[in-house]
């Protein structure tokens, strides 16, 4: 379990994240939703130690993250950010091999190679494993980065808007893979999402942020309600039940 305790982040005098406490349960997909500037990405960055919190602490399986060495941390929690600009040309396989860095320090043994193979197979990238990343489409690139995170083999996987700039087909593909990671491999996934319908269909729990505070925290059924969404987004959003999915019809509200 990841326990976030009273995290605060200031940019200048503005509180971007204000006294946030959240528990993230194991073996579930937890989505962070909320309007732009709500502090979702900042919160995720602090949990994953990419950003130092001004106050507060994060416990991972009851261990304070400040007490974990960077290398130990990277065997337990992985984070994938939105933009992954790189200066070098890498093939998919080379990128995925980097996922083994916390274990191998760049010298891959047989077990590492096996993990890399499995991750590439899992993301269905076997045929193009020797293609360069800059030759790939956005969806393929995103899958390659997720394969790297799978190779990293952490219990917790945090993703910051992984569906950005992806079309419907690739978005669904990525979300299905994340669902499989939780259901088949027992991973815990935390994801920042913009489209509430993806959050509604694929997540177990939803945490809603607004102006740097947690305004709602509960199961998907509890959050995907017109009243709750009104509080989060200031919009009247009708909800339709379709094939066991709860769909928010926000386009003309």
């Amino acid at each position: 379990m990841i326990q976030v305790r009273e995290l605060t982040k200031l940019y200048g005098k503005k509180q971007v994240v204000e006294n946030v406490s959240v528990d993230i349960q194991r073996g579930q997909i937890t989505s962070f939703i909320g309007p732009n500037g709500a502090g979702k990405s900042t919160l995720l960055s602090m949990v994953s130690r990419l950003l130092d919190a001004d106050t507060g602490e994060v416990l991972i399986d009851s261990t304070n993250t400040k007490k974990l060495k960077s290398n130990e941390f990277s065997k337990r929690v992985s984070i994938l950010k939105q933009s992954n600009y790189m200066n070098v040309r890498l093939t998919i396989r080379e990128l995925v091999s980097f996922g083994r860095f916390p274990y191998s320090k760049g010298r891959l043994n047989d077990e590492d190679e096996k993990m890399v193979d499995q991750s590439i197979d899992y993301m269905d990238l076997k045929e193009m494993e020797n293609s360069y990343l800059d030759e790939l489409s956005g969806g393929q690139r995103q899958r390659a980065f997720i394969a790297m995170v799978i190779a990293q083999d952490t219990d917790y996987i945090l993703l910051d808007e992984p569906l950005n700039n992806l079309d419907m087909k690739h978005s669904v593909q990525i979300m299905k893979i994340l669902r499989r990671l939780v259901d088949e491999l027992g991973k815990t996934v935390v994801i920042v999402l913009h489209d509430i319908n993806f959050a509604s269909v694929y997540s177990d729990r939803i945490v809603a942020l607004k102006n740097g505070r947690v305004v709602k925290d509960g199961t998907t059924e509890e959050i995907i309600q017109s009243a709750a969404l009104k509080e989060i987004y200031d919009m009247d959003i009708p909800i339709q039940q379709m094939n066991n999915c709860r769909i928010c019809v926000y386009f003309n509200s």
């Binding site: 994953s48 130690r49 990419l50 960077s70 290398n71 941390f73 070098v88 890498l90 860095f101 760049g106």
Partner: protein
């Protein structure tokens, strides 16, 4: 062609350049000419290693392939120091006459400056790289202006001594300094070589590097100080020559397909040995000392820099 073959060819070229430089027209002068040429070749190899290593590492930590560590203003600081010493203490003062003292003093001042620079810029981790670039340029220009101001005021005889330090030269390298440099550079690189795989991860960007367990702040700090010390040594040894690093680092990226720092660093080192020893041979044999190596380096480097800028702007 595989990277290994390319490397072997380059090493062959480097050895050939050194061989030709050392033994051409020697006429059996093993006692006089050979040791003198030997010191020069030695100094060129050391400078090449230091500049190449410092530049590749600096470009990795700043995620930018058209920067050189001279952006930190170390070259200008070196010139300012030399000018200040001659201006206030005179050209016959021990800090100028004794090359060993001058060498160590220069290194100390440049390293202290680099540490201050680091504290100023990297302490808060939300400062972007461009901030470093701008502050560096401002410092460099500031040092350069003071230097020029003092040089205008100074006695013309004293100025000729400063002028001598303004351009990198291998013609009067002190052999004691070469040994001191060798020891420092060997120790530094022996220590830094272990970080190569972490540097590989750093090319993926800050966030991915931290995600993969690289201790980002500590690594960047170490590598920044390392490249500052290496630049300081090279500059104190032969004079300002940092621009040279831009050429060899980028040639190495173009030449080798690998992203690994063990390959890129070795490659850029060997390329810089070929360029320095070969270039010095051209200066001595073809131009018969009518020009200096740093003039040729700046000329070719400038053209290459413009080419890189055009290429970068086209790829975006």
């Amino acid at each position: 062609m595989r990277d290994l073959h390319k490397m072997l060819i380059l090493v062959g070229l480097a050895l050939a350049a050194c061989g030709v430089y050392l033994f051409q027209d020697l006429n059996g002068s093993f006692d006089y000419a050979l040791p003198r040429r030997g010191v020069k070749v030695f100094a060129m190899v050391l400078t090449g290693v230091a500049i190449a290593y410092a530049t590749v590492v600096f470009q990795t930590i700043t995620h930018n392939r058209i920067l050189t560590p001279s952006i930190m203003g170390l070259d200008s600081l070196y010139m300012l120091l030399q000018t200040l010493l001659i201006f206030f203490l005179g050209s016959d003062h021990i800090t100028i006459v004794n090359k060993q003292v001058n060498f160590l003093l220069s290194i100390a001042v440049m390293v202290i400056f680099a540490l201050l620079f680091y504290r100023l810029l990297f302490k808060k981790n939300d400062r972007p790289v461009y901030f470093l670039l701008l502050v560096g340029i401002i410092c460099g220009t500031f040092f350069g202006s003071i230097t020029t101001f003092l040089q205008v005021l100074i006695d013309p005889n004293e100025f000729s001594i400063i002028q001598d330090r303004m351009f990198a030269s291998f013609n009067n390298v002190n052999s004691d300094l070469v040994w001191t440099s060798l020891v420092i550079i060997t120790l530094l690189i022996a220590f830094a070589w272990k970080q190569n795989s972490s540097l590989d991860v750093l090319t993926l960007g800050r966030d991915t590097a931290i995600n993969l367990g690289v201790n980002y702040d500590a690594l960047v700090k170490q590598m920044l100080v390392l490249s500052a010390v290496l630049i300081a040594i090279a500059t104190a040894l032969v004079g300002p020559i940092t621009f040279f690093g831009l050429i060899v680092a980028n040639l190495s990226y173009q030449f080798f397909t690998s992203y690994k720092h063990s390959v890129l660093l070795t490659g850029s080192i060997v390329i810089s040995v070929v360029a320095l020893v070969g270039g010095q041979w051209v200066v001595e044999r073809i131009f018969t000392f009518n020009t200096t190596l740093s003039v040729i380096i700046n000329f070719i480097g400038g053209i290459y820099f413009i080419y890189l800028l055009l290429k970068e702007s086209r790829s975006k």
